[in-house]
Each structure stands twice: as structure tokens, then as C-alpha cells.
């Protein structure tokens, strides 16, 4: 199968410090790819390169190629703003926009790029809240503040918001690390269903989570991609000794 997103020789820096070293990795369409590794190994930096949020940080830059279909999304000719409409992102902490209603949060990606038609917005809001498995809980209070929801609901709201602009790829940066086990289970279930709609790359600290939800897993260590394999393979018969030590918890 030809990958939807094909990363080739990606390196990234914060000033003089290199955070990613020559990463090559292909993401298949409608799959879930998990990125695991210890803190500071560059896994968040990796997905932040893919929607070019990396370069919003002062002094940060990157090198390499990444093909999304026919387009090299890391080339200087590509406008990061329009790229981010194709590659959405969900963050570590739920971050509904301040004093915006649930409805406005989901619609914000459209309204702020000039789509004002009420009928279109209504449809998009309902469709994506349903996709994010939040519709039944909020359909009677769409005008309430997004911040009035619980943490888990807020995170699903953020997922609906990211889906509303119709991205091809959804990046998730430890989306459940601030949530309780029940909310986490709901999000994991959701990720499993969202595969039909969108291709997912998820960073996680939690190896069980990677094993439960992903099709392929990449193990990062100190900015290197150590191993990238189908999840069941990586967790049962890792090829690299460092991977084995990490997944068995015998890591330094």
C-alpha cells in the first residue's frame, strides 16, 4: 500500500540543539500510527513538524521532505496556514477557546475562514460532534461555554473542532494524558471509530494505549527512530534491543 503521508529524512532543531535525526516513516491511509518513547525523545516535535507548528517556536527549524499525496508539505513553498487545514491537531490538554460556546468552538475553523452560512455550519457542527461521540451529551446545550464541560468532554470537543475543517490526517499529542481512565477509554474507542474518516498519528506515553489502538508503532529514542513496525510485531518480537528494553520497562 502506498502511504498517505510519507516522511523522508526529517531532521529538526531548536536553535543549535538537534531534536530529530533523519526520520523516515510512512503512514498508511485510514490507520492509526502510534509514536512511543521516553520524555524528550522528540515524539511531540515529530508530529509538530508535520503540521509545521514546530517553526512557530522562535529559533526552531527543520529539514527534510514529507509527502502528503503529491505535495511536499515541508517545502518552503507550502503555506503552513493552508497545510494545517489538511493536517489537524489535538493537544495534550483540552483547550476549548475561551468564552466561546460549544457550537462556536466546533464551527470556529470555518467561521474564522469566512464561512458564515448558518445551514452549512449547523450541519458541520452536528456531524462532527456526532463523530466525536459528544453530540448526545451536548445537543441541548450547544450555546453553553465550551469550558463548562468536563475534561474528557472538552477533549472530545477539541477533536470535533479539529475534524470540522475536514483534515486528511489528525495528529494527537498525548490526548489522554490529562484525563481520567473512563474518559481515556472513551477517547480510545473514538480513535478506533475515527479511523474510517481520517488517518491518525498519535503520540502517547502509555505503551498499553499504543498496543490497544494502533496499527503501527514507532519507537523514538533521543531523536532517532529506533524501530517502526506493525504494533503486534513491535510489542511481541522487537528487532532492536533498545526497543525490547523500553517495552519491558528495563530502560535506564
Amino acid at each position: 500500500m502506498r502511504p498517505l503521508l510519507d516522511v523522508q529524512n526529517l531532521s529538526a532543531w531548536f536553535g543549535k540543539q538537534q531534536a530529530l535525526k533523519n526520520i523516515s516513516l510512512g503512514v498508511n491511509p485510514n490507520s492509526v500510527t502510534a509514536i512511543i518513547g521516553p520524555s524528550g525523545c522528540g515524539k511531540s516535535t515529530f508530529i509538530r513538524c508535520l503540521n509545521r507548528l514546530h517553526e512557530e517556536i522562535a529559533g526552531a527549524f527543520l529539514q527534510g521532505n514529507a509527502w502528503l499525496e503529491e505535495e511536499n508539505i515541508l517545502s518552503a513553498q507550502v503555506d503552513p496556514v493552508s497545510l494545517r487545514r489538511k493536517i489537524g491537531m489535538v493537544f495534550q490538554r483540552p483547550n476549548p477557546f475561551p468564552s466561546m460556546s460549544i457550537y462556536d468552538n466546533v464551527a470556529s475553523g470555518l467561521t474564522l475562514s469566512g464561512i458564515k452560512r448558518k445551514s452549512v455550519l449547523n450541519e458541520v457542527v452536528e456531524k462532527n460532534l456526532k463523530l466525536a461521540a459528544l453530540w448526545d451529551e451536548v445537543k441541548d446545550k450547544l450555546s453553553q461555554a465550551g469550558s463548562s464541560l468536563s475534561g474528557g468532554q472538552q477533549q472530545r470537543l477539541c477533536i470535533a473542532r479539529a475534524l470540522a475543517i475536514g483534515p486528511k490526517v489528525l495528529l494527537m499529542d498525548e490526548p489522554t494524558s490529562a484525563l481520567d481512565p473512563i474518559s481515556t477509554a472513551k477517547i480510545e474507542e473514538l480513535i478506533n471509530e475515527l479511523k474510517q474518516e481520517v488517518t491518525i498519528v498519535i503520540v502517547t506515553h502509555n505503551m498499553q494505549q499504543a498496543a490497544r489502538i494502533s496499527d503501527k508503532t514507532a519507537f523514538f529514542l533521543l531523536g532517532d527512530l529506533v524501530e517502526f513496525a506493525p504494533t503486534s510485531e513491535l510489542f511481541t518480537s522487537p528487532k532492536d534491543e533498545r526497543t525490547e528494553r523500553y517495552i519491558t520497562g528495563r530502560f535506564g
Binding site: 494545517r84 495534550q92 475561551p98 468564552s99 470556529s108 475553523g109 474564522l112
Partner: protein, 292 residues
């Protein structure tokens, strides 16, 4: 056994005694610190309340030697001066605040921040003199415009700094979430970050307004004063604070009483504004508490 419980009771009583002593000292400290405020309040109410009547709010000042009349023109004048100051000062101050919070890491920004901090502590009479040189002399006359500009300069630093502090409260990942939706940075700043903070920003604005509404010194060299109704933006204009000043130093008892009335009105205005801002902030804070 009994001796142990007796001993415990003794310690307990001692602790209670200590606690009451501390409480008494705290209450005393509160009274001492609040006393000046209440004393000023009581004095102004005592002397000013009798001056407040229907004429006070509706009539022009009476000619010298006649009793009665009111400060209606000064009330209107203060409103107009604050209005001019707001039109200039609010957009300017908020813009500086946005710049400092969103682009505040550059060297230019730290220079701007330092200047704004300096501006806070410049005596208001100096601002008045500056505007006198800058506007009153070239325009050959005292004017409402000059007074409004002087007041706006006093508003800018307060508004800029509160706006900056409020916007900084929004975590960086909220801005990234906006960028992540493919929204350009300027739209994220204006329509997500600033619009989401309009309520607390407006409380900063209101506090700045209440501060300049009572300013006297910068108006003495700019708006001057007037015993008549508003006569155009390029003409001298009455204001409550300057009228209080003029009446208070006059030899006429009637005027002095009206000065007290005006003072009462100003203090009430500041009091009400501050109180409502507190209540507003309290509300927004409690609703924010649910976030994350």
C-alpha cells in the same frame, strides 16, 4: 488519666486564647487601615449630601453673587472629556497590550514595556503641561480636545498593562490550537485570544476610565473650565474635578457646598465602578475555574 486530660484542656484553652488574640489584632489592623477611607467617605457625605438636589444635576452654575444653580455643565463636560480620552486611549492602550503579550519577547517590546511603566508614574500635571505645549499653544486656545488627549495619555499605560497581563493568562497551547485549525496568527490573536478575554479587558478599561474621571491637574492647562454648556470641541469645557477645585477655593459658602456635592459624586462614581468591576471579575473567575 485525669491529669492528662486536664493538661490537654489547659493546652486547648491556651491555644484558643492565642487564637482570639490574633483575631483581635487582625480586626484592629483592618479597622486602622479602613478608617481613613470611611472617615473621608463620612466627611464627604456629611458636607456634600445637602448640596445634591435637582438643580445640581440640571442647571448651569449661578452667576457670582446669586445662590442656587448647579453643575450640570461640569457633569456633561467630564463625560465628554472622558469620552474623547476613551476614543483615543482605549484602542491605543489595548493595541499596546496585545503587542506586549503576543510579541513581547523582542527587544523592542521590552523597551515599550519599560516606557509604559514609566508613563504610569509620570505626574499628571506634567502630562497637562506637555499637552499645553503640544496642542493648546499651537491651536491658540484651551479646548475639550486638548483635555481629552491629556486624559487619554493617562489611560494608556493602565489599559496596556492590564490587557497584557490578562492575555498572558491564556496558555500558549490555546494559540497553537487556533493555528492548528489553519487560522492565520492575526485572526487567532484577535478573534480567539482577544475576543475570549473581552470581559476582563473591559474591566481594566473601566478602571482606567474611573481613574481619569477624577483627574484635575492635567485639565487645568488644557480644558481649562467654563461656566456654560459645551460649546464645541475646540473651546474650553467645564469638568467636575476642575469645578470642584474652583468652587472649593472660592470665598462663597454656597459654592463650597456645591464643591462638596461634586466631590461626593466623584467618589460615588469611583466606588460604584470599582465595586461593579470586582463583581464582574468574581463572576468570570468562577466560570473560569471550571476550565481544565
Amino acid at each position: 488519666m485525669s491529669s492528662l486530660s486536664e493538661q490537654m484542656e489547659h493546652t486547648f484553652r491556651l491555644r484558643n486564647l492565642k487564637s482570639y488574640c490574633m483575631l483581635a489584632m487582625i480586626v484592629l489592623a483592618f479597622v486602622v487601615s479602613a478608617l481613613p477611607l470611611f472617615a473621608v467617605f463620612a466627611h464627604i457625605i456629611k458636607l456634600g449630601f445637602s448640596a445634591l438636589n435637582f438643580d445640581f444635576f440640571t442647571k448651569l452654575p449661578a452667576p457670582v453673587g446669586e445662590s442656587g444653580g448647579g453643575l450640570a455643565n461640569a457633569l456633561l463636560g467630564t463625560a465628554i472629556l472622558v469620552g474623547i480620552a476613551s476614543v483615543i486611549g482605549i484602542p491605543w492602550g489595548v493595541s499596546i497590550g496585545i503587542y506586549l503579550s503576543e510579541y513581547g519577547k523582542s527587544k523592542t517590546a521590552s523597551v515599550v514595556r519599560f516606557c509604559v511603566d514609566m508613563l504610569v508614574s509620570i505626574p499628571s500635571i506634567v502630562v497637562g503641561l506637555f499637552i499645553y505645549e503640544l496642542i493648546v499653544i499651537p491651536m491658540k486656545g484651551f479646548s475639550a480636545n486638548a483635555g481629552g488627549v491629556a486624559l487619554s495619555i493617562l489611560m494608556i499605560p493602565t489599559i496596556a498593562r492590564t490587557t497584557e497581563e490578562i492575555l498572558k493568562l491564556i496558555p500558549a497551547h490555546v494559540r497553537e490550537a487556533g493555528l492548528g485549525l489553519g487560522i492565520p496568527r492575526w485572526k487567532v490573536t484577535l478573534f480567539i485570544i482577544v475576543r475570549g478575554s473581552l470581559m476582563p479587558i473591559s474591566t481594566g478599561v473601566i478602571l482606567a476610565i474611573s481613574r481619569v474621571a477624577g483627574e484635575t491637574a492635567p485639565l487645568l492647562f488644557t480644558a481649562l473650565s467654563s461656566r456654560f454648556w459645551f460649546d464645541g470641541f475646540n473651546k474650553p469645557i467645564a469638568s467636575l474635578s476642575v469645578q470642584i477645585f474652583n468652587y472649593a477655593i472660592s470665598p462663597f459658602e454656597d459654592w463650597q457646598s456645591q464643591a462638596w456635592g461634586g466631590a461626593l459624586l466623584l467618589v460615588l462614581f469611583v466606588f460604584v465602578v470599582n465595586l461593579s468591576v470586582r463583581i464582574l471579575l468574581l463572576r468570570t473567575n468562577t466560570s473560569k475555574g471550571k476550565q481544565i
